[in-house]
Amino acid sequence: MARVAAQRLTEFESAALPHLTDLYRTATRVLGDTTRAEDVVQEVFLQAWKSFHRFEQGTNCRAWLFKILFNTIHHYRRKWFNLRFIRDGEEALEQTAAAPAPIPEKITDRQILDALDQVPPDFRSVVMLADVEEFAYKEIAGILEIPIGTVMSRLSRGRKLLRERLAGTARSYGIGASEQEGKSA
């Protein structure tokens, strides 16, 4: 009996552990905190192992793990974050999402990550799943348990806000200005 359980755990580890870095990276960016990301990912693996008997072999293990990740984040986020912050973020988005913004080519990784961190979590999650983890819209809808139309609108708004934050960051570092000056000189 113990041998069967050990074999089953080995199967689980082989299927799930290759996705650990992806899960950790997404948790870190969505939560904005590496310690919390570690706690959440630890719990994701434990929850996944406990429900591994319900996992259908041959289906998408990665998407299944990400679904557990976002369920876990949802629980933790209610504990850790003030919900009003998220609503304020969405209101700010509505107010600032009007004008398209150019993306400077000399933008750094740090500036991109800082801009991403300023996007409200619900939108940031969809951007991460689509642009970094490269899930299809249908998979994202399944992971976040939202309609595909909502995936599309959150992705569009999230990307737009990211472009605007990035343009603002670049301006504050003088990146856009120096390019303009170089061209006009």
């Binding site: 755990l9 434990l46 951007v127 642009d131 599309m152 990307r159």
Partner: protein
């Protein structure tokens, strides 16, 4: 669909589709119309390039991050240390987290600043109880007394007999150690008697963490947990259990005076 290419506001309409186009998520017909528009529109082509550039750079920037060294080993250790007979504890822990989230949120929405502070302090103790006493699995049998004394460190090792002497003998001391949760350090003793689980927790006060002028015990119920707390000039002391409020308060009334005396006599450390 021809409107996309030839109608008024074609660029604006095409740009609404650009994100889905970029992700290859459009229907074949729509995809074709967008493509035709892009062939004849330099501005929309530049916009597409800009979005594709950002998507690529974003992935590149995020992918640079990786899990810390030893994290995978830690996850494996957790999985292999998980014992199915501890399942009930985990279910209780998860239920506790959900209850705590709802409870804390409603207090945050409705409370005054005083009750928010009280809730925040109570949560500080409860966090450690849930994380350390409920969620963690410990090997059987419990550590020996010398091991526990060693785990408590030189400052708190002598607190073990102080607390042990005040908790009824039918409760087995399962753990006495220093632990950390969310960067905060706790001195933690865990007692169990069948299904009854009690934590006696001490943590150094953070800035502004005080119950105010009135001395004595504070008691709060959060879901299945009863939390009693008191303070010394430097420390917060908690007794948290799944006993009834009355039983927990009685337990705290027995335990906390001697713990407080101990902490005051060690206030220089």
């Amino acid at each position: 669909m021809n409107m996309l290419q030839f109608g008024d506001g074609a660029c604006e309409k095409v740009r609404r589709y650009l994100d889905s186009y970029l992700d290859s998520e459009l229907l074949v017909e729509t995809n074709h119309e967008v493509l035709r528009h892009l062939e004849g529109c330099a501005a929309c082509s530049r916009e597409l390039e800009s979005r594709a550039f950002l998507k690529s750079r974003l992935r590149q920037a995020v992918m640079l991050g990786s899990a810390p060294p030893g994290f995978e080993a830690s996850v494996i250790a957790t999985l292999r240390g998980y014992q199915p007979d501890r399942r009930r504890n985990w279910m209780l822990a998860i239920a506790a987290i959900v209850l705590l989230s709802i409870g804390t949120w409603s207090i945050q929405r409705q409370g005054t600043s005083g009750s928010e502070l009280l809730a925040s302090i109570m949560q500080t103790g409860l966090d450690d109880h849930v994380h350390c006493a409920l969620q963690r699995s410990y090997a059987e049998p419990p550590p020996s007394l010398p091991q526990m004394e060693s785990d408590m460190g030189p400052v708190f090792r002598e607190m073990i007999p102080v607390v042990r002497g005040k908790v009824p003998a039918e409760y087995r001391l399962e753990q006495a150690h220093l632990c950390t949760y969310k960067t905060r350090q706790y001195t933690h003793m865990i007692f169990r008697n069948d299904s009854a689980l009690i934590s006696v927790i001490v943590t150094r006060k953070g800035a502004g963490e005080s119950f105010g002028r009135k001395a004595g015990l504070r008691q709060s119920d959060q879901g299945q947990f009863a939390i009693a707390a008191t303070e010394t000039p430097d420390y917060l002391v908690f007794v948290i259990s799944n006993l009834s409020s009355k039983q927990n308060l009685q337990m705290a009334a027995n335990v906390t005076p001697d713990v407080a005396s101990y902490l005051k006599s060690h206030s220089g450390v």
